[in-house]
Amino acid sequence: MKLIIAGLLTSLCLTGAAFAAPKIAVTDLSYEERVQEYFHVVAAHSKSSLKASASHSARDSDFSSSERGRSSLNAKSESSYYEAEGTYSYIERGELRKFTADVKGEMLKSGIYRVTTAKPYTAKNMEKLYDVIARIKQGMYPGADYVLFGSVSSIQWRDEINPIQGANKYSQTLSLELVADFNLINTKTYEVKAAFSAMGEGQDAKFLTGNNRVVMNRGKVVSEVSKSLGLDAARQLEEQFDPSRGAGTSRSTRESSFKSSTSSMEEEVIILR
């Protein structure tokens, strides 16, 4: 019996020594957006001048008389008008310094990973934002074995008012959906160890009963989005890259987890008889 316990303890120690939690740096979510701006320019310039002069002289003597008069009028007007309108578009890139705290939090909760701090991208040249290899080489992720690079695929706010069936009332819903792509990249070999897209969603619903004016709780929505994104991202990361388990999960496990995540979204109807 003692021998068995000793053996178990030794094996536990050995596995503990063999598994060292990898250090992962999580980047801020980068985004790229085409921005279109409308412009309308009107420039008008007008200049006018009027110059009038008159002179008159008369001379009179015993023998002669003369009279001389001169007048001149000079008017000048100049105007110009310029109008132009159109749209110009440009691509804006940047980093969304939100929504990643819960991703890091969920990774830490799992106990499989250690999280290191990544330096934010502050360079003016945003062209290099998506060049992860260059950023790794620049040493923006000190001490990290892997970088979880995230970029925003879609972000959409929705503010909807819908009638409630069977009642002469409305419900106002403010919701936000955020989808982000994540790539887990090895900082030494640049190998992609995991890649997935994760979604976060949150909503706030209020009841409109005619004349009442409601203010939607935006903070609650953002918090819900962040939390659900963190859960989804950490779950998928664990499925694809779990160094404590060694081999990856089987397809059946993944399918069952997908089914459970979709079934939780179904409505739970209670029928009383």
Binding site: I164, Q165, G166, A167, K169, S171, T173, Q203, A205, F207, T209, E267, E268, V269, I270, I271, L272, R273
Partner: protein
Amino acid sequence: MKRTTNFRRLLGCLVVTAAALVGGVDAQAASAADKVEQLGQMRSLEVQSIRIVRRNDFLNVQADLLNTDRQTQQLFYRFKWLDNAGFTVGAEEGWKPVIVYGNQKKLIEAVAPVQAATDFRIELHSPDNNGRPQ
């Protein structure tokens, strides 16, 4: 042997309590009758089933009524919304009139006015159809 029986009983109690806690609304009421408050005893109208669902964080309730008589019945109803502690929430509703024809099945439905509402009661009143409360 006795100890095992006691343990099983305790386990059974725990399972029932856990199921009641998870169930929420249905755990508080075993049947539709527990959700219905009648003003007098209706002879011809009966609540056959009640469906409850939470949509967009608001409790949605739909009750299935049946007129077992061949005569048309006048019915008045209103919902009373309760929070987790059993206190009423939202303003008191007015009575809503419904005509239920002979042998007709009628659906009445309502949405809770506040998200805090987790339970409800349906008050029913049918003036020409009331017997004495039993």
